[in-house]
């Protein structure tokens, strides 16, 4: 699967897109020249706003990391990694973690949590007499990580199971 993906990517990349006609550049030059008296006013992002946005994004990344990773570490059955110079999939040892990719210059750019299955048990009584149910949920946590410098992407998908006992409110 990996080899044919690489092969088709190489095949596609070997084809050079056809350049536009030469007159197009002239038309663009004319348009920009006609509008040059209205000086382009590129927006300048203030450093304060930029740092605020970066700080907020970093905080969110830290929160997500600490809220997801401990559970993943406990319950991960295996890690499917889709790694590319464009995209491939291979199974790696379960101990491979997101942090190892971070150490190699990757950043998490997207996270998705899918619920694969959910079941609840019949109501039962706890020792204190409170009614409760056992809820089982199976998730698939997927994180897409990218290294902008090497233009490499990695997708880490980790199945995770949770068992919770939740009180049942009766009326």
């Amino acid at each position: 699967m990996r080899e044919t993906d690489k092969s088709i990517e190489a095949q596609l990349a070997s084809l050079a897109p056809k350049a536009p006609s030469e007159k197009l550049k002239g038309r663009i030059a004319q348009r920009l020249s006609n509008e040059s008296d209205r000086e382009a006013s590129p927006k300048r992002r203030s450093r304060v706003v930029a740092f605020a946005v970066l700080a907020a994004a970093a905080s969110l990344a830290v929160v997500l990391k600490f809220s997801v990773t401990p559970e993943v570490a406990e319950n991960t059955r295996g890690v499917e990694v889709a790694q590319n110079t464009k995209l491939e999939a291979e199974y790696l040892a379960p101990q491979l973690r997101e942090v190892e990719f971070v150490a190699n210059g990757f950043e998490a750019v997207d996270r998705v949590r899918e619920v694969l299955a959910a079941e609840e048990s019949p109501v039962f009584l706890l020792e204190n007499g409170q009614p409760a149910q056992s809820v089982y949920v199976r998730y698939l946590d997927t994180v897409l990580m990218e290294n902008v410098d090497t233009r490499t992407s990695v997708m880490i998908a980790s199945p995770r199971e949770e068992y919770r006992v939740v009180p049942v409110v009766t009326y």
């Binding site: 050079a16 663009i28 382009a40 300048r44 997207d110």
Partner: protein, 173 residues
């Protein structure tokens, strides 16, 4: 991104941008009109100081926006019929790629196979292969999550393999 003049940016991206525009319109002249409009809009409104990849992502996003607007204004959504692209001899106007004679057959087969993908898959393939964008940047250009971009790309590669095999089968009998 160190500020470069528009001509340098145009020279190094125009072919790829045109290919991207052609994912929305089959006519070369329409694609060039779209590219002209998008490039001028982008250059007038560009943000100084952004990282290069984000600038390029916005440029592609601009092309997409202008293309979709163009399609709306023209009162139709062009239906890309495989039969039209499958014509035995693609004239020069219809070709997406420039290549030496010995690669022409492969280029035509690739173009036909690409044309068989859905628009959302073609977009991602064009940006990933020829635009050389990360999924994060593709997400920004298309207004989708990077994860969605990656998923579409995987499905597109799978579909392309099937389409290319079919083309080879049809050629070889």
């Amino acid at each position: 991104m160190a500020e470069e003049n528009w001509e340098d940016l145009y020279d190094r991206t125009c072919g790829r941008l045109l290919l991207f525009a052609r994912q929305y319109v089959s006519n070369a002249e329409d694609a060039e009109d779209i590219l002209q409009e998008a490039f001028v809009k982008f250059w007038k409104n560009r943000e100084i100081g952004l990282k290069e990849e984000r600038q390029i992502a916005r440029l592609y996003g601009c092309v997409r926006w202008v293309a979709l607007d163009w399609l709306k204004k023209n009162g139709r959504r062009e239906k890309r019929e495989m039969s039209a692209v499958n014509d035995a001899a693609l004239n020069d106007q219809g070709k997406w790629f420039s290549c030496p004679v010995e690669k022409e057959e492969r280029a035509e087969a690739t173009q036909v196979a690409l044309d068989g993908l859905s628009e959302s898959q073609r977009e991602v393939v064009a940006l990933k292969i020829w635009g050389e964008l990360t999924f994060d940047a593709i997400g920004e250009a298309l207004g989708i999550s990077p994860n969605t971009a990656a998923s579409r790309y995987r499905y597109a590669l799978s579909a392309l393999k099937s389409n290319l095999n079919l083309c080879a089968y049809a050629r070889n009998g």
